[in-house]
């Protein structure tokens, strides 16, 4: 029951989602059957980091052409490794990068990736969400060949891999890749200009409404946004008063947003505002009126005085982030 675990790195460190994928891998096989794979041009440090956990072994999939991620490079390299070692399962974290190459890799080997898995049942039966979370589906692999699985971030969060005894062996595998086989060329990652407020692509938004009462009080909410690493937004009256620029307005006459988290502070939930943020994955509302319409659409709500709750929340967030 050999299980490959493909770890993804960012800035020279292994990303958190990869460790969560490790938890899934450990469901499919015992620790000593799990091979952690790190990919790149210089993978010594990455491998060392991986080796601190309890795995069967760590493989450094190394080639100069793997310095930067490319779909062609990673697919070719992994295909060769998988053909050499023939694991039964290949587990990935379900990241943008994995979505870009893992399906092609699976296809090359006549298989299909079971992606964005949120749970593993007996069989194994791989659970994924369908119809935007309204249904769960159980998938089963069949036929010969490795089973490719990618795991949703946060689905296996509690069970991170245990620390190893420092004896995890590390080997290197050098794939054969020709420069001509790499067809895409990627530039340096960039952000949109700091001047323009891009609420549309913000993952976390803290939004302030009339409940804040005065312009000076907005800094309370700014502090919270800062602590969370969130973008600041507002309902229309705030922008109309000039307390925040118009481009921060969320609503029918402003921007439509769909972040992972939308924290509405002192916003009642009038329809003109709701239509701008109803697509948010998680809505949290803080309002002193327990009957405020915003609570109808919120996932979590605090009916209390924002002037007390917001500072308390800012503190708690800072503490949690450490």
């Amino acid at each position: 029951m050999s299980v490959f675990l493909v770890l993804e790195q960012s800035g020279g460190k292994i990303k958190r989602a990869s460790w969560e994928a490790a938890a899934a891998a450990l469901r499919l096989g015992a620790a000593q059957d799990v091979t952690a794979v790190v990919i790149g041009a210089q993978t010594e440090a990455l491998a060392a980091e991986a080796a601190t956990k309890q795995f069967g072994k760590v493989v450094r999939l190394e080639h100069a052409l793997l310095e930067h991620y490319t779909a062609d490079g990673f697919s070719l390299a992994l295909e060769q490794l998988i053909q050499a070692e023939t694991p039964e399962y290949v587990v990935f974290p379900h990241t943008y990068q994995v979505r870009d190459y893992a399906p092609a890799l699976a296809c090359r080997m006549g298989r299909v990736l079971i992606g964005d898995v949120i749970g593993i049942g007996d069989g194994p039966l791989f659970m994924r969400q369908l119809l935007q979370g309204r249904l769960n589906g159980g998938y089963r692999p069949c036929g010969a060949g490795p089973c490719f699985v990618s795991v949703q971030a946060g689905a296996f969060r509690a069970e991170l891999p245990a620390a190893g005894d420092g004896q995890t062996p590390v080997t290197t595998f050098a794939p054969n890749i020709d420069a001509a086989q790499i067809r895409t060329r990627a530039g340096e990652p960039f952000r949109n200009s700091a001047q323009t407020v891009d609420l549309g692509s913000a993952q976390l938004i803290v939004s302030v409404g009339r409940g804040i009462r005065e312009a000076e009080n907005i800094r309370l909410v700014e502090d919270l946004a800062g602590a969370l690493g969130a973008e600041l937004a507002a309902s229309r009256p705030i922008c109309d008063n000039g307390w925040l620029p118009m481009e921060r307005q969320v609503g029918s006459s402003g921007q439509t947003v769909s972040p992972k988290l939308y924290l509405a502070v002192g916003i009642s939930g009038a329809i003109q505002h709701l239509v701008g943020m109803k697509g948010s994955q998680c809505i949290v509302a803080i309002n002193k009126d327990p009957d405020a319409p915003i609570f109808e659409v919120a996932d979590y709500g605090i009916a209390g005085d924002l002037f007390e709750v917001v500072p308390a929340l800012t503190e708690a967030v800072k503490a949690a982030k450490g």
């Binding site: 399906p103 992606g115 039966l125 994924r128 249904l135 067809r183 895409t184 530039g187 891009d198 929340l313």
Partner: protein
């Protein structure tokens, strides 16, 4: 430039979801269907490219007869012609099986560019476009927001996690999966619908394309998720409520 846009017809977002008798999929009897929204963005990108560089936009869709209405909608919005792969067992095929159907039909067209939405609103696999690229031997890029034609091929803007972006250059022909929100969608017009009536829709069957459907992954069962969405009110003092919220943000929402 000949652009192929692969479109999927999916159940309407407002659809009442009930599991069918066999427990393998949802009751389709009362469902209304619509164009998969990310595919609508792919179509919009294709139409804008055509407006800039000329050429032809061909839409392709696989599924039962009812898929015709979505194809007509695409034609109404400006696509030039369509290929309908009539296939009643789409649900039984896995991503590879579906991609094989599409790739077989696309191959006959020799396009300069193949666009499709990032993922579908029903299964949400997000793989079909990438597999089609692999089957056709074409380079690909995913999560694309902007497409630019260059001397040597294409220059595209790709979305990365956490608000980062990246420019990728690749040769044409290529396959791109388009992320929602890159363009503003156009609405269907009366004039468009009337014109669509005269546009060609070529029908093909899976058998004609010589593609078999034996899946390597099967969807064995469908269940309703246990958690239903309802508002959880966090009470207590300001400090207690804040602490409770942070717990939720950490473990349930996973943003901390």
């Amino acid at each position: 430039m000949k652009i192929i846009v692969a479109i999927k017809q999916v159940p309407e977002r407002d659809a009442q979801v009930r599991i069918d008798a066999a427990g393998k999929w949802i009751e389709e009897a009362d469902l209304h269907y619509a164009m998969n929204e990310p595919d609508a963005y792919a179509l919009e990108e294709a139409l804008q490219q055509k407006e800039k560089h000329g050429g032809e936009v061909v839409v392709i869709s696989a599924g039962p007869e009812r898929v015709g209405s979505t194809i007509r909608e695409a034609l109404a919005k400006g696509a030039d012609r369509a290929i309908q792969i009539v296939c009643d067992d789409l649900g039984k095929r896995d991503a590879l099986g579906v991609a094989r159907l599409l790739a077989a039909a696309i191959k006959t067209e020799s396009p300069d560019l193949v666009l499709t939405g990032l993922q579908s609103e029903d299964l949400g696999l997000g793989q079909t476009g990438v597999i089609v690229a692999e089957l056709l031997g074409l380079p690909h890029a995913t999560l694309i927001l902007q497409v630019e034609k260059t001397e040597t091929g294409l220059k595209v803007k790709r979305e990365l996690e956490e608000g980062w972006f990246q420019t990728i250059e690749l040769p044409a022909p290529a396959v791109l999966t388009i992320q929602s929100g890159g363009n503003k969608l156009r609405y269907a017009t009366l004039m468009g619908i009337k014109r669509a009536k005269t546009k060609e829709v070529r029908q093909l069957s899976a058998a004609e394309l010589g593609v078999d459907g034996a899946p390597v992954v099967t969807l064995d069962e469908i269940t309703l998720p246990k958690k239903q969405k309802s508002t959880q009110m966090l009470g207590g003092s300001a400090k207690e409520a804040a602490a409770a919220l942070v717990e939720k943000l950490k473990f349930e929402v996973r943003v901390l």
